[in-house]
Point group: C2
Chain length 118, copies 2
Amino acid sequence: MESTTAVNMLSALGHEGRLAIFRLLVKAGPEGVAAGEIARTLGVLPNSLSANLNVLSHAGLIGSRREGRSIIYAADYGAMSGMLGFLMEDCCGGAPEICAPLGSVLARVNACAPGARC
Amino acid sequence: MESTTAVNMLSALGHEGRLAIFRLLVKAGPEGVAAGEIARTLGVLPNSLSANLNVLSHAGLIGSRREGRSIIYAADYGAMSGMLGFLMEDCCGGAPEICAPLGSVLARVNACAPGARC
DNA sequence: TCAATATTTCGATCATATTGGAAATATGGA
DNA sequence: TCCATATTTCCAATATGATCGAAATATTGA
């Protein structure tokens, strides 16, 4: 993963409202949640939500699909995993057994992408 | 972990220079790296580095200790682990076996705190 | 086509973060 | 004490991001 990509993701998440949105979607799973339901759940204005969803989407952290007149947003677990892996790269010099397992586990999270059985 | 804490950490990392500093410290391990060496390695101005180290420090992501006339900075693995755990909380509803292992692994990373054998 | 719901775009104001130069502080050695 | 090294603080210019109201677009059903 490029450093710029990770920076975009992290700065997107470094915002109270966007972090709440993303965590909601992470909990919700690959099926995702409609924008309106997100707005209702978190109690935010629809235009603020739209702007924040746009930031998260451009960062690659979430994806969307239309369903009827709603637009469903879902976390991109693969992207998140890539970002976490980038953050932990060569943790503690790569040698210690304490940090090493992260790599393999993060790789497994990739399987939790939208569309996968999860 | 409080949401505000996680936001501070993520927004601290959502910056090209600070992410580079933090990744350098994550790689370096609990012994840490002197500020001057960080500046030389990354090729940044000492005042910019100082400001960025301050942001990372206030976010709780790194710690510091004086050693002679140098100040040694080191990643706080426990804090990082807490932030990652907060981000992944109840991933995919908590049920799926694909996301669940993250929790246990992140707990183990806590052992990689400064001072621990790592 | 008309009305209702869902979401996005626009535009202005306001606040906050970044940058780089220069000076200030702190430590160690001669 | 004096000097060199290491790091931080101060400052002003610039740029970027957040917020909110209001209007615009898109989809569905009558």
